[in-house]
């Protein structure tokens, strides 16, 4: 079972409570990747949840790797933070879906 959008939405509430965050912004990020494209997404202080990932995609960040083709990754991560390195290992275009969780800080609540 992969991380679906419904699971991600249920999961993020609990995850934010672990961070002590009661309120947060949500953004749905849909990335379009060209063949063999590599991209960096900055997610410091945020949480990116990978949703229904395609094959031939590599997502690596400070807290884990998602790459079904990487034999060295015994466990794949759907949650990413920090500097996220994304690589489309396919020879065709690919699409990658994330739910981005942005904690509301004290300044947001003013």
């Amino acid at each position: 079972m992969y991380m679906t959008a419904a699971l991600a939405i249920a999961y993020m509430d609990r995850r934010m409570l672990e961070w002590g965050i009661e309120e947060y912004h949500l953004r749905f990020r849909h990335l379009r990747l060209q063949p063999s494209e590599q991209r960096i997404v900055l997610a410091y202080g945020h949480l990116f949840l990978l949703v229904d990932p395609p094959a031939d995609i590599r997502v690596a960040s400070d807290v884990g790797v998602y790459d079904p083709g990487d034999a060295g990754a015994a466990e794949l991560q759907y949650e990413h933070q920090g500097m996220i390195h994304i690589a489309n290992n396919a020879t065709t275009a690919n699409q990658l879906l994330f739910i981005q969780v942005i904690p509301k800080l004290n300044s947001d609540a003013r």
């Binding site: 410091y44 942005i102 904690p103 004290n106 300044s107 947001d108």
Partner: protein, 161 residues
């Protein structure tokens, strides 16, 4: 006490007509967002057809039409929503004293000379990030391929101890 600072963001534009969604983190002690300053510098791309639109008399000191290099929209996740929407214009009259160009001179690789002013805006009590959307048009009609760096400087007022 308040202090003004600028948050610098560099956006890489690699294809003509590229559209970019961006997020700019805002410090938690930001009191207000007060302006946007910008500049762009072409990195790659050969001009295929520049047609000067000068109407000069002597061919050396003319006034050229400026070019819209892109359109930017900035918004915040509060009731204020979109707070800035503008066309970014390349000044093509920055040679020889910042006010003129020459009939036989092609535009430079940079969009500004020494004169640059921030676009004023007002966002009180901003959230922890600003979102933006940029639509490029710099190379349209003049380049087959082009890449450049778009530098955005978001001016803020910060509370200081």
């Amino acid at each position: 006490m308040m202090r003004e600072e600028a948050i610098a963001v560099a956006v890489s534009i690699d294809t003509i007509g590229q559209q970019v969604y961006l997020q700019i983190p805002i410090p938690s002690n930001t009191h207000r967002i007060i302006g946007l300053e910008w500049g762009a510098m072409r990195q790659m791309g050969d001009r295929t057809g520049y047609v000067g639109t000068s109407t000069g008399s002597n061919g050396l000191f003319d006034l050229s039409a400026n070019k819209v290099i892109g359109r930017i929209t900035l918004w915040v996740a509060t009731q204020q929503n979109i707070f800035l929407q503008d066309e970014l214009v390349e000044s093509r009259n920055i040679l020889v004293g910042e006010n003129i160009t020459g009939k036989f001179m092609q535009p430079l690789d940079t969009t500004h000379g020494t004169k640059r002013e921030a676009i004023p805006c007002m966002v009180a009590a901003p959230p922890s990030f600003v979102e933006g959307f940029y639509q490029d048009s710099w190379g349209v009609g003049e380049f087959d391929a082009m890449s450049y760096l778009l530098h955005l400087y978001l001016w803020i007022e910060k509370k200081c101890i």
